[in-house]
């Protein structure tokens, strides 16, 4: 028996190590109800521990190499290559001043837009807070397009945060370690992002292929899609905010697996294979910095004073116009009529109410000036039956020019 183990010890060790790894793999893979296998998106604690060890071992040398490179560049740029720096500094300062004011106005607009969208029930997300990070390493495997950044739990990063550059989206945070984080690039086979084509408004899912190229899948064959069309994030994946640039359509080809569908190859907007500095979107809720708050307050104060002045001017102009109109319009009251009759016409006196005639308000509506009737009949003002003429409050006031009332002619059936 001993000779068996001695003789086959090499093969036995090989089998033991292979078996241990197969068992470990089996524990990481989950088989779904439909028979499809899948890896857990979140690592188990033991797997995460192994990843953490590997990260802790590799990251310090990588950080050292990266920092050395940055140090050399810094020394070169700050102590040797200084041509025209003073002039550039002045120009940049001017640009900063101008951009700060513009940014304040844009932030205000963004805030207002968000309020309006909240009123309309939209769930639009804006990027309000990002953290800059340096890409320090990769997985080293062409089958796993992940890279590492030099910010982790210490910078409050969390899984599924979007990672972008100024050019476009890059990926999402997959795993967070104490001082680093693993980012799954958008050109990995297992990644996925909701995108929309800017012109045709077609939606699809963005993912990578074996060569690390970006492609949109899940789109029905459509001849409207042309190379050069801009691709943006759709915002439905709960990772990337809507409207971020993804890239441009490079070419369209038929999906080999599904006849009715096509694959849209996309040229990424960000340089995915040469990443240095990236931004991690840590918040899509409004949270302005102190400086931004000050700028907004300044902008609002400036806008408020301006608005008040405009409003005052508008009121003055309106008053002036109404006065001119009042002067030009024909008078509705007889300037020669006695004040009492005007008052009585305006506010009819109530019988039995003391002082009712004198209590009519002076500023009441003007009484209409009645013109003399040319052919009076019984319906003419002042032609009412005589006995209660003076007591009828609804009757029109008599004028000196009113003709004598005539009885209406008899009509025979």
């Amino acid at each position: 028996m001993e000779s068996f183990f001695v003789r086959y010890r090499n093969v036995l060790v090989l089998l033991a190590i292979l078996l241990a790894q197969i068992v470990g793999l089996a524990m990481q893979v989950r088989r779904g109800s439909a028979g499809h296998s899948s890896l857990d998106s979140r690592d188990g604690s033991s797997v995460r521990l192994i990843r953490l060890w590997a990260d802790e071992l590799v990251t310090p040398p990588e950080r050292l190499i990266h920092n050395s490179k940055l140090g050399v560049l810094w020394v070169w740029n700050n102590y040797f290559y200084l041509r025209d720096v003073r002039q550039q500094n002045r120009d940049l300062q001017n640009t900063i001043d101008r951009l700060r004011l513009e940014q304040a106005a844009l932030l205000e607009d963004a805030r207002q837009g968000q309020r309006l969208q909240a009123l309309l029930g939209f769930q639009e997300k804006y990027i309000y807070s990002t953290i800059a990070a340096q890409a320090i390493g990769t997985s080293g495997s062409s089958q796993s397009r992940v890279f590492y950044i030099d910010k982790g739990e210490d910078a409050h990063l969390k899984p599924d945060m979007a990672v972008i550059t100024g050019d476009g989206i890059v990926g999402k945070v997959r795993d967070v370690f104490p001082h680093t984080a693993q980012v799954l690039a958008i050109n990995d086979q297992t990644s996925g992002a909701g995108v929309i084509l800017q012109t045709t408004r077609l939606r699809g899912i963005l993912r990578g292929n074996a060569d690390g190229q970006l492609m949109i899948v899940g789109i029905l064959a459509d001849e409207r899609i042309q190379p050069g069309e801009v691709v943006l994030t759709a915002g439905g994946d709960l990772v990337f905010p809507r409207g971020l640039p993804v890239g441009t359509v490079e070419k369209v080809r038929r999906d080999p697996d599904r006849d009715a569908f096509i694959q849209v190859m996309v040229k990424p907007a960000a340089h995915l294979d040469r990443l240095d500095e990236v931004l991690v979107i840590t918040s899509t809720q409004p949270r302005f910095s102190d400086q931004q708050q000050k700028d907004i307050a300044t902008s609002q104060a400036m806008k408020g004073a301006e608005a008040e002045a405009i409003k005052e001017q508008a009121i003055q102009e309106q008053l002036k116009a109404s006065q001119i109109n009042a002067e030009r319009l024909p008078g509705l009251t007889d300037p020669n009529a006695p004040a009492a009759s005007q008052a009585g016409a305006a506010q009819p006196a109530k019988p039995g109410q003391p002082g009712s005639e004198t209590s009519a308000p002076a500023a009441g509506p003007p009484a209409p000036k009645l013109l003399p009737t040319i052919h009076p009949d019984r319906f003419s003002p002042g032609a009412a039956p005589a006995p209660d003429t003076g007591a009828d409050s609804n009757s029109a006031p008599k004028t000196g020019t009113s003709p004598t009332p005539q009885p209406p002619p008899e009509r025979n059936p």
């Binding site: 090499n10 790894q21 470990g24 893979v29 071992l57 190499i65 890409a135 062409s142 890279f147 040469r274």
Partner: protein
């Protein structure tokens, strides 16, 4: 008699290195493999941990040591990726075992053999990776054999430069 002769020859040709080399060379290979793709982008057609595994397995001529080294390097690579831990581990375990087993029987000082061995073992490693991923785990994975071919060629070229360099660290008795 011939067996004894072979054992004697094998013992005489076992390469020995300072302990620091055993520790630093694999670590450097892993770090460079993780860092160089940032500089070279999609043209990083090599697998330094695999080359180092093959080198030490061939030099030490011990299948057990080759197996353990391959497993360690592969698991390390898996840990840095987002794949299941063990896929590369299995591939490089087999490669380490085979390289050491072959090293017992052939003259590994020959540059042509080194080149050929690296090329073939690289392709074998890719094939095992694909087998484990698709068959054992049943996961979907797009595969590009042309890239794997370039990687195998790149590994051979790297081995051509790296092996003589590492030979300088051998302990000569």
């Amino acid at each position: 008699m011939s067996l004894l002769g072979a054992d004697f020859r094998r013992d005489m040709e076992i390469h020995r290195y300072p302990l620091l080399v055993y520790a630093l060379v694999p670590l450097t290979a892993l770090v460079l493999q993780a860092w160089l793709p940032r500089v070279l982008g999609n043209y990083a057609w090599f697998d330094l941990p695999l080359v180092v595994t093959v080198y030490f397995a061939l030099g030490r001529r011990s299948p057990i040591q080759g197996t353990i080294m391959g497993a360690a390097m592969g698991l390390f690579e898996d840990a840095l990726s987002h794949h299941a831990i063990g896929v590369n581990g299995i591939a490089k375990t087999v490669v380490g075992f085979l390289a050491a087993s072959v090293g017992i029987r052939i003259d590994v000082e020959n540059y042509t053999i080194r080149l050929l061995l690296n090329f073939l073992l690289s392709l074998l490693s890719s094939a095992i990776f694909l087998f484990v991923y698709r068959v054992l785990l049943g996961l979907d994975l797009e595969w590009d054999w042309l890239t794997q071919l370039f990687i195998a060629i790149g590994n051979s070229v790297v081995a051509l430069i790296l092996f003589p360099l590492l030979d300088r660290f051998q302990i000569r008795e």
